[in-house]
Symmetry: C2
Subunit: 638 residues, 2 copies
């Protein structure tokens, strides 16, 4: 009998069971992963390139397969999906973007506050007097004299520049443009007038995606933006697995650092090509990311982030040279890494606050960033408290049977007719559904709640509808029948799926409650609720309320702010003032460790209910059911 | 007929003519270069190892020769002198110290001012509180809190340390010793208490030798001192040839930098072995050296030092990390490079002034450093002027037929009987003479002047003595007959030799005169004359006056200060205050370009005379001849 094989496809995060003897291409088809295959699986086009790091559960590379691959490809783990036969066990297949069909653009925008252009890198053109036997002042001091006239009394110079300064100055006939970082350090000396050519690059390193913006620092305008899957996925789906990988040996941390920087370099190159500039013209790079990404990028031992008390190595802002990290830019460009707050409140969270400006307003705000983890902030310009909620990756489709990331084929919006239980849905790319992404799952649970398929405690099987099916003894709700889908299966939601979402939303809601208590605020005191991160603009605020992900608050007070981590990184690139603000936030934001709050556990249990144990906290939900009972008196809230 | 071959042996600087077919060992014998040869030239002991970079004028390495050499030896240019047969042309043979017999210790000491111990590196032991779920402060900030209690509010940390800080702190059970540089930067975090272990290293990179001192920075005491020949000699005898070599391609400058740092590393290793410490325990290194050495060591393009207006790349103090330069020490140790004054008044000159303290006294001083070039300083605590004199390397034995450096077999002291012209001499190592070093040549010229073999204008052939011989039409004075020497030749001084010394001393004397004029000083105003550099203590001050190298001044005012460049580097290692003083000197010492001084040329011509055209400037010399004429009326001053 053929043994079972479990395959996870990244970056979509789709899991599938296959049998030994199946090819990776077969499994991809089964999972609804859109893999290029111009030859239709005839093993001739070489387009279904995938990366598989651990190939111990696969057949070896055959001669025919090797014809399509270089030796570098093979040593980097590249395979052709149509050739790869699975043997047994589990493995992870990474589908690079060039091998995908119908990839959806990653959410790469977020709201941001306008900032006054005040970048750290400035350029000055200076003409030096030529040395003579009566004026043999050394080259560096001659340059400094000219810069003194521009108002710089003390400047450092990088040794790499000093080494070649003599010929640089003479080749330029003593007419040069000098790039100065932070009014402190000379980072480039260039022939002639290059004053108009200063670019910067901003990066948000997310657990699942890396987003980059190329910005003209003379105009302040973005000239290109790109996103990539985070290649760290090859070494673990979630942060903890990656930290575990990083701590196996010194080489593995180096590997994580290397592939992260390679991905950033690929983004830089892509953006530079699009804008028609040279990467040498990038003089500064700003980096946001959660604490683990921050440590991986910097090659800092992340060991102690994975276990209590979750202590980071450093929180302050860091500035490093691009060439010391291997980042593709002007050799001496500065890499500015935004500060963090705590082990699970990272530089991305600081960037969220910069972008939304909750630290600048008198309005009392609740900011929730739902990524692989959930970070919650409550406060305003007077005080901000934060916490990290172990929501887990359910909102990104993980641990949900048909869950997937927000990619082509994912159901992202959904309605259930209250009388017929018929389902209307929208998929990303308007193709046949292959799974459900975060916003679709929230919609599903909210809609199931509204029509009684779910009650306050969870899945309710006592409803009469043909959409409740028995799958090997487990009752499931059919969202899409097999015939409608791009799969060989019905797409369903099970009681276990509902519970996963209850756990995830309870973690965030309980965190929110603890922070509100800390700030002595009631739901009615909130002026604004801001939702950042993966959901983007696709989450239905009504569904968020019905599931209890957010407090019951008027829709007009709810804003979806998108990828504010990259927005904050961009703002820091544009303005030194914003950096000071970030450093201040890193110190002033109070981090609340939920584990030590006596009320947390009770709040968590109460928050497992839909939308909350005490329904009086959700008057609009009560009102809905009140009206529903009036309209359909035969169906009561069970 | 066998063709002529010209061979230069370094580091002795001895040249010899050989014939094609001679071995390098034959030529070494002819030149009086003491080369080990336990087997007596039987090609069996393998001790006569020499380094020959350009082997195009030599036979190839034979199988037998290769038996004694590793492949690394061969690629580094090692040969055995007994196997190497010369073909034609010129080449340079470098004799490493392990292959030499009777090598004399290089002058590695100099006077120095006592300084109060105040080194840039300090160590502090701190015990940190362990993190807990209620105190999850990041590691770096936790360390900083502990250091705040030691009085440090803001410290930078090197990224290499930050990367491994998490495990470092935990491995040390939160009990560490921190090394801080300049109250500014954390350069080491070490387990337990290592407060008593702080060493520093000082280096003077001379054109011909490199001297190093290992110093305990807790006690302030030197624990080891070593010297090595400067391996740059392989690429040129003098500074200009080396600069020319450095500018041939990028690789050649890198090569000069590399071999210089390798030599320094060898000194460090040697000193550490002697003192029984680990090079990791060295936390700071100070470097002095002339401007060309400074540029080579730092890998800075030296091109424009070689041609007018002789502009250096930089004069200010530089601080770099040991690991960025490849210097063997604690990875993040600071390398402090003393500042320079001008193209030919380098960091060694600044060190000379620090060591002699002429900038601290009200005494009016003349300081002459005679190395490969001559640097002259006139002044005191109020003002110091400096110049560089193109004396050339005659005082180091170059351009003098039997000249050599101060090595075993060199005549270093000499007297000529005024009546018989018989010569009494002393050689270094009390062996048979093979040449004459600087102090011997000065003695010879002074003594020849005293007894009439030289007059004010130069060599005087009109003296009746068998020691004046005709060598192929050239009249020469025999200092040592062939039978007394270790050569197959008489050791002689020719008219050309006398003229070389006249040129060299005229350059220094004219420079001195211009500076005295600049300071409005007369010889009688001078309180002190200090002579630093190669001559060491071996120069006879009387001879220095008779040749006109120094002004006519009482012997008790003349001091030989030795290698003050290394003394200054040591002082800078011991004290941050000294570094500030050095930086101040680099800016305040006025550099006088002799080429633009209208009086210089005339002074130079006047200074060609012995001791000077106007004898009234040398009353003690006049007095000598007056007494001589009274004693021997038949022999008059011609």
């Amino acid at each position: 009998m053929a043994s079972q094989v479990s395959i996870r496809f990244e970056p979509d995060g789709k899991r599938v069971r296959a049998e030994s003897g199946d090819t990776v291409r077969d499994a991809a088809e089964k999972a609804g992963v859109g893999l290029r295959s111009e030859c239709g699986g005839e093993r001739s086009c070489g387009k279904c390139r995938v990366i598989i790091q651990d190939q111990s559960n696969l057949c070896e590379v055959s001669k025919d397969e090797a014809m399509h691959l270089t030796s570098e490809d093979i040593s980097a783990g590249y395979r052709l999906a149509c050739f790869c036969v699975a043997k047994s066990g589990n493995f992870v297949v990474f589908v690079p973007s060039e091998s995908k069909i119908g990839t959806r653009q990653i959410q790469i925008e977020g709201v941001e506050r306008p900032v006054k252009l005040n970048p750290a890198v400035e350029k000055f053109q200076v003409s030096l007097s030529k040395p003579s036997i009566r004026d043999a002042e050394p080259d560096f001091e001659r340059l400094m004299d000219a810069l003194l006239r521009k108002g710089f009394a003390h400047l450092e110079i990088d040794h790499e520049l000093l080494e070649v300064l003599p010929r640089t100055l003479r080749d330029a006939n003593w007419n040069v443009t000098v790039a100065i970082w932070n009014s402190r350090r000379i980072i480039s000396v260039e022939k002639g007038n290059t004053k108009e050519c200063i670019y910067g690059f901003s990066v948000d390193i997310g657990t699942s995606k890396i987003v980059g913006y190329l910005i003209n620092l003379v105009s302040g305008r973005a000239v290109a933006a790109k996103a990539l899957e985070n290649p760290q996925m090859l070494h673990g789906e979630d942060i903890i697995s990656r930290i575990n990988y990083a701590t196996t040996c010194n080489e593995s941390l180096k590997e994580l650092k290397k592939i992260t920087i390679q991905a950033i370099n690929a983004l830089i190159l892509d953006c530079c090509n699009e804008a028609g500039i040279n990467s040498e013209d990038i003089y500064e790079i700003t980096i946001a990311g959660n604490t683990a990404m921050h440590h991986f990028f910097l090659g800092i031992q992340p060991d102690f982030l994975a276990t209590g008390p979750f202590v980071p190595a450093v929180k302050k802002t860091l500035d490093l040279k691009a060439n010391s990290l291997g980042v593709r830019a002007n050799a001496l460009a500065n890499v500015h890494v935004l500060p963090i707050v705590a082990g699970y409140v990272g530089a991305d969270a600081v960037a969220d606050i910069l972008a939304t400006g909750i630290n600048k307003t008198k309005d009392k705000c609740l900011l929730i960033d739902v990524g692989t983890n959930g970070e919650v902030f409550v406060g305003n310009r007077e005080d901000i408290v934060s916490c990290s909620c172990a929501a887990g990756p359910a909102f990104e489709g993980m641990h949900i049977q048909f869950g997937m990331k927000a990619r082509t084929g994912a159901i992202e919006r959904l309605r259930i007719a209250p009388d017929t239980y018929e389902v209307e849905y929208e998929t990303i790319g308007s193709v046949k559904p292959v799974g459900i992404c975060g916003s679709g799952i929230i919609d599903a649970i909210a809609e199931m709640f509204k029509c009684g398929l779910v009650n306050q405690r969870g899945f309710n099987k006592n409803v009469q509808t043909k959409r409740l099916i028995d799958d090997n003894g487990e009752i499931k709700f059919v969202v899409a029948w097999r015939s409608e889908t791009g799969l060989n299966n019905d797409i369903t939601i099970s009681g276990k799926d509902v519970q996963e979402i209850q756990l995830a939303k309870a973690a965030i809601h309980a965190g929110t409650m603890v922070l509100m208590e800390e700030m002595k605020l009631k739901e009615s005191d909130l002026d604004r609720v801001l939702i950042a991160g993966a959901f983007g603009k696709h989450l239905n605020p009504e569904s968020a309320k019905f599931t209890g992900l957010i407090p019951d608050i008027s829709n007009r007070k709810v804003t979806f702010v998108g990828n504010t981590a990259i927005s904050g990184a961009k703002m820091a690139l544009l303005s030194k003032t914003v950096r000071k603000e970030a450093e201040g936030l890193s110190r002033s934001i109070r981090y609340v460790e939920l584990m030590v709050k006596p009320g947390f556990r009770k709040e968590f249990v109460n928050s497992m209910f839909l939308p909350y144990r005490d329904m009086s906290k959700y008057p609009s939900v009560c009102e809905f059911f009140k009206r529903k009972i009036e309209a359909y008196p035969e169906k009561s809230l069970s």
